[in-house]
């Protein structure tokens, strides 16, 4: 084995220029694939995470059936034990509860359907940074009948801070929900739908408005990394009684965005596949040239007693080395760029930033530092090497020393 490795190394050095070209092409492919994949992943991650932090969260837990008809009768009882158990899952970052329902509001002779949402003021602010998005007024104080309204609601109703709103809705178990709210702030959610539909109020006030003391509709979670979501969802499904609770991940909650992401991923996969096929054929060409040049040498080796598989192994090591040296060089080249883009994402031009501001997202080109991307590329390159080695394998098993040496 030692001698075979030595031979492979020296053979690679024997025709340095060719080795260099072959290695460089793999390096280029690996560099391109790794940077592209990780920037794509990082950028999407940033976009989706910012979006989810606005309101949705990464995972939501409801009473079973809630997501289908969003009935005020399908609520969860305040259960400190349960929240504790959820917070104990190691990948869970933040959790909070919300009470959501539709309501009619009226002010200054106008009426409109909105969502009056009870939130834990402090937790919600930590989760979404609401206070920083206020256009006017101040943030919610707990135990008050404060509301923060979306900026479109404010303009529709021509509402200002300290104005009063009347709300009417269906409360828990057929109760009437009627109440008075005082506008304490006007908010730009960064999302037109939210701006014209959402009204935030302290959870305790929402509970008394909806006659749902100690009840809430939703537990909202975020995880340390968005990649942890499937794992956490799994853990939740296992700890929670499936006849009482339902667990929904962001993928079910923002399906159209996820679809766009998948489409984007698929198109870049196609580009990468074409790149790898082109480069694979390039390497195959080099390998064919090498086989041709060393035909006589291989014939002698077979004549003196080297088996086809031993001969193949020798060549395989060479091709594999080219592949992995290329991969390592490509990764080393990509690494500093990705680290940089991870720590200092590129901000896009003003126009794009404006367009995205509607969604309360700062559009960034960001890289993801994720070693699975490296492993994925190693596997792809290994498979490519296997494919490229197929021809030499056939060629070597069919090699006839007598014929080969006569030429």
């Amino acid at each position: 084995m030692g001698l075979l490795l030595k031979m492979a190394g020296r053979n690679l050095l024997r025709n340095r220029r060719r080795t260099l070209i072959a290695t460089a092409s793999i390096m280029f492919a690996a560099f391109f694939a790794i940077t592209m994949t990780s920037i794509q992943k990082g950028t999407w991650q940033h976009t989706i995470e910012s979006m989810l932090h606005n309101y949705t969260g990464y995972i939501q837990i409801h009473a079973l059936g809630y997501s289908e008809n969003q009935s005020i009768d399908l609520l969860l009882e305040n259960n400190i034990e349960l929240i504790k158990r959820i917070d104990q899952i190691p990948q869970v970052d933040k959790s909070m509860t919300r009470l959501e329902n539709f309501a009619l509001i009226s002010a200054k002779d106008r009426t409109k359907g909105v969502m009056i949402v009870g939130v834990e003021p402090q937790a919600a602010n930590e989760f979404s940074g609401i206070e920083a998005q206020l256009i006017e007024g101040r943030y919610l104080q707990s135990q008050s009948n404060d509301v923060i309204i979306g900026k479109n609601i404010a303009s529709n109703f021509q509402l200002n801070v300290n104005d009063t709103i009347l709300g009417i809705s269906q409360g828990y178990h057929g109760n009437n929900a009627v109440g008075k709210f005082i506008v304490c702030g006007i908010l730009d959610f960064g999302n037109p739908d939210f701006n014209s539909q959402i009204i935030l109020t302290p959870l305790s006030h929402a509970q008394s408005f909806y006659a749902a003391d100690n009840l809430y509709s939703t537990i909202v979670l975020s995880t340390k990394s968005i990649d942890d979501v499937p794992q956490v969802a799994n853990a939740l499904s296992q700890t929670l009684d499936s006849t009482m609770y339902e667990v929904r991940t962001y993928k079910e909650m923002i399906p159209s965005l996820i679809e766009v992401q998948l489409l984007d991923k698929a198109s870049s996969r196609i580009i990468l596949a074409i790149l790898y096929i082109l480069i694979g054929f390039g390497i195959l060409g080099t390998v064919l040239m090498m086989l041709h040049e060393r035909n006589f040498e291989f014939c002698v080796l077979k004549a003196i007693g080297m088996k086809s598989y031993q001969l193949f192994w020798m060549i395989f090591i060479e091709i594999l080395s080219i592949g992995f040296i290329g991969l390592i060089c490509g990764s080393l080249l990509a690494f500093p760029i990705l680290i940089y883009l991870y720590n200092f994402p590129i901000e896009l031009g003003e126009k794009i930033t404006e367009a995205y501001a509607r969604f309360n997202i700062v559009p960034l080109i960001k890289a993801s530092i994720d070693q699975t991307i490296f492993f994925e590329q190693s596997i792809i390159i290994f498979i490519m090497v296997l494919f490229i080695s197929f021809y030499p394998y056939i060629k070597i098993t069919q090699l006839d020393p007598v014929k080969g040496m006569r030429q």
């Binding site: 001698l3 020296r10 002698v300 004549a303 003196i304 007693g305 020393p401 007598v402 040496m405």
Partner: protein, 244 residues
Amino acid sequence: MKTDQPLIQALGIHKTYNHSHVPVQALDDVSIDIHKGEFTAIVGPSGSGKSTLLNIIGGLDHASRGKILIGGQDISNLSDSDLIDFRKNNIGFVFQSFNLIPVLTAIENIEFIMLLQGTSKAKRSKRAIELLNAVGLGDKLHSRPNQLSGGQQQRVAVARALASKPAFILADEPTASLDSQSANNLLDIMQELNQLEQTTFIFSTHDPRVMDRAERIIHLVDGNIEKDSYTNGNIKQPTLKQLP
């Protein structure tokens, strides 16, 4: 010196190549016995079938008809993979040129064949050094083939052929690409190994300077043995054809 059971028996070997529309009859009913310790030259004009005969004896090529027995074992029916093992363990090969693996040094080239045989590292290097000393290249252990002259490369090839402790060594025109001094030098070494160690050598040549050195000379003409003689003038077998 010669035992009764021949080391190599070729029995009625025919070889026809059918690659072109005109079949080429390279060997036409060739039978020979070669005993252990013989130093045999196969000579004849170009195209007379020398290489074909050596290749068939060495298990590199199959006869169209006839049998090859090595130490009594019929190798005609071995599978390709078994033949490779058979060659590795029983036959040493020296070809006309480019015998060596270019990226390995002299000593590594010799160790390589022993590695294929599964010899331990310590034994390998000990034997490789002995053999390189025996062929007069004790000072070139770590030279690569391209740092050696043609004659030196052929000597390394002989050393490699010996390394696997084969039953015999086949050398197809080992001196053809050498100047006469190197050719003589190589023959000296082969002869010495033959005399000291009883190594059986069969080599082909059409070089008159070299064929005189053989103990036995087999003349091939058009795929037939025309004459089979020992250098003491003893004609071993009457040839089928009448001499002119």
